[in-house]
């Protein structure tokens, strides 16, 4: 489904070039959960940014469904759940999910929230939800339009065991419904939910 070949990214900061991501391959088939492991700073978020068509790689290519795609392309539906959910705090969970897409209706948003186990919290302002609930709203926002590819960056950061396992279970179920899923995490609790793992090594100055 999604196939990254030799993608790489460098950043220049304060006159020094940092290799955020050395040439890396990543692929995930439909129905598969791929775990991107690695220490903090190893380039996980950068790789997901490239896979999510938010960051243009300096080298390599991105194919989705066999077709080469560029940054900003909207032909393929990609669900993206960033590390921090950044919900609009005063809006209800349903309204936050409705922001995912122009055509996301209230009914669809409610279904997505139901799927992530938030049936009781749908109409509560996002800022009143716990960290784990907010992560799940963010997931619901990413999956509400049935994406072909789901990308989740550190979905369990700051969550207790119970919340973390719940989030991972939701991610697994989305893959089971046919999405290709890439999860970046330095959290080993995700292992049982994944089909494969790709480990990144720490980035270093060139």
């Amino acid at each position: 489904m999604i196939d990254l070949r030799g993608v790489t990214k460098r950043y220049r900061t304060q006159g020094r070039t940092v290799v955020a991501l050395p040439p890396t391959d990543l692929d995930a088939a439909a129905g598969e959960v791929v775990w991107i492991a690695g220490a903090s700073g190893s380039g996980k978020s950068t790789l997901l940014g490239i896979a999510g068509l938010l960051v243009a790689p300096d080298g390599g290519e991105v194919r989705i469904g066999g077709e080469r795609v560029e940054v900003g392309s909207r032909r393929i539906r990609i669900g993206f759940a960033p590390q921090s959910p950044h919900l609009l705090g005063e809006l209800s969970a349903v309204r936050n999910v409705r922001l995912a897409h122009e055509r996301t209706s209230t009914a669809k948003a409610e279904d997505a929230l139901y799927a992530v186990g938030l049936a009781d919290a749908m109409h509560i302002a996002a800022r009143r939800l716990s960290g784990g609930q907010q992560q799940r709203v963010s997931l619901a926002r990413a999956i509400v339009e049935q994406p072909s590819v789901l990308i989740a960056d550190e979905p369990s950061s700051g969550l207790d065991d119970e919340s973390a396992l719940r989030v991972f279970a939701v991610i697994r179920s989305i893959a089971d419904r046919g999405s290709a899923v890439c999860v970046a995490s330095h959290d080993a609790r995700v292992r049982p939910f994944c089909d494969r793992m790709i480990a990144l090594t720490s980035a270093r100055p060139e």
């Binding site: 938010l54 960033p82 921090s84 609009l88 005063e90 922001l99």
Partner: protein, 403 residues
């Protein structure tokens, strides 16, 4: 469109978070709108305020006959009617005077009964303008002799007897009011005021003429024309001189008046600049704090596929709505304040400004500007922060994670 939907969702939170500056802006609008409307009404040339810059007294021209037997242009009632029809002339008044004697216990007081022309005479201090046969007496008589409004007094006037000179006739007339005679007016000391026809009737009686005859033939010593605007006094005076009348403008202040008006205008300009600055600072302050509060969320929206212009529309709409709300509530407050002020008794002044709201064209224009200004100011003053929001790139959502 989802951008406008989101704007609508975010509006209540925006308003409640910034309710203090919003309230201050509305109060500022209300105070500014009310004072500038009142100042404007005071400064307006065409205002008919009794004492202000637009007063009729300052716009009056004294018209005289030459008084010769062969006077080419006698000031008759008919002649004044013609003068009243001249362009820029608001009204024309004939001035006449006749002697009466007011009977008071143990005394008799001689008074000149003068045609009431309120434009150039002191205002009633109590009571009202004289009606058909009532009179206005000087305040000093009220205090000395205990007269009051509604009293009936006895006066004596002279009635001519064919060829035999005249005889004194006593009659009772009502006192309609009093005027301040502590300073001598244009009509000199020892005057009382009566309605035009009442004065003319007594004057005619002393000469053996009916009121109708007086209207048709009597040559008045003088009359007054009230001109619509100070700027036209010279033009009207020129026409009068051309037609053979004597003409004297009552005011020699015409050169200093525009300066006084400019001062009031300047005050209004300074006030509006202050209000404008306040609105700009408020809007820009709110906008930049919204930008820093919303940057991460907007990053997520962009990562979700929101376009730049959608973010732009969403936030411009919020600030436009914010400005509209301030403008609408501010103008409603101005309207209510002016309505309250207009309930005050006439003649009340604060710091010399008559509390006499008159919504002339300028007043309406002020209100229109007050309604629109906050909208424009809010949109423009928030433009830079909002453009910064719209420029947030989708990959900001990754960058933010490291913080």
């Amino acid at each position: 469109m989802r951008a406008l939907t989101l704007a609508r969702w975010l509006m209540p939170g925006l308003l409640s978070r910034y309710r203090v500056p919003t309230a201050i802006a509305i109060i500022g609008m209300a105070v500014f709108g009310t004072t500038s409307t009142l100042l404007g009404a005071n400064a307006s040339h065409t205002a008919t305020d009794r004492y202000g810059l637009g007063s009729e007294a300052l716009r009056a021209i004294n018209v005289t006959s030459y008084g010769r037997d062969d006077d080419p242009s006698p000031v008759t009632a008919g002649a004044l009617d013609e003068l009243a029809a001249l362009t820029h002339v608001e009204s024309a008044h004939a001035w006449a005077s006749t002697e009466i004697v007011l009977t008071v216990p143990d005394d008799a007081i001689s008074l000149s009964l003068v045609t009431r022309i309120s434009a150039v005479q002191p205002a009633p201090t109590r009571g009202a303008e004289p009606t058909r046969n009532g009179i206005l007496l000087p305040e000093s008589l009220r205090t000395e002799h205990g007269f009051d409004v509604g009293d009936t007094v006895t006066i004596e006037y002279i009635r001519s007897e064919d060829g035999n000179g005249g005889v004194g006739v006593e009659t009772e007339i009502p006192v309609d009011g009093f005027f301040d005679d502590t300073t001598v007016g244009l009509d000199g000391p020892g005057v009382a005021y009566g309605a035009p026809d009442a004065v003319l009737t007594l004057l005619g009686a002393s000469r053996g003429h009916s009121l109708d005859w007086m209207h048709d033939n009597f040559v008045f010593t003088m009359g007054y024309l009230v001109v619509d605007d100070l700027e036209h006094i010279q033009d009207v005076a020129d026409v009068l001189l051309e037609r053979g009348y004597g003409a004297t403008a009552l005011t020699t202040l015409t050169s200093s008046l525009p300066a006084a008006q400019q001062l009031m205008d300047a005050v209004a300009v300074v006030l509006s600049i202050l209000l404008g600055l306040f609105l700009v600072v408020t809007a820009a302050g709110i906008a930049s704090s919204v930008v820093s509060a919303r940057a991460a969320e907007v990053g997520v929206l962009r990562a979700l596929g929101w376009r730049r212009h959608e973010v732009l529309v969403c936030f411009v709409a919020q600030f436009a709505a914010f400005g509209t709300l301030i403008g609408a509530i501010g103008v409603a407050a101005v309207g209510s304040l002016l309505a309250v002020v207009s309930l005050l008794p006439p003649g009340v002044r604060v710091l010399g400004v008559a509390l006499d709201p008159r919504l002339d064209l300028n007043g309406w224009l002020t209100l229109l500007v007050l309604t629109l200004a906050p909208v424009i100011v809010f949109v423009l003053a928030s433009a830079i922060p909002v453009l910064r929001l719209a420029r947030i790139a989708p990959d900001e959502v990754l960058r933010d994670i490291r913080r």
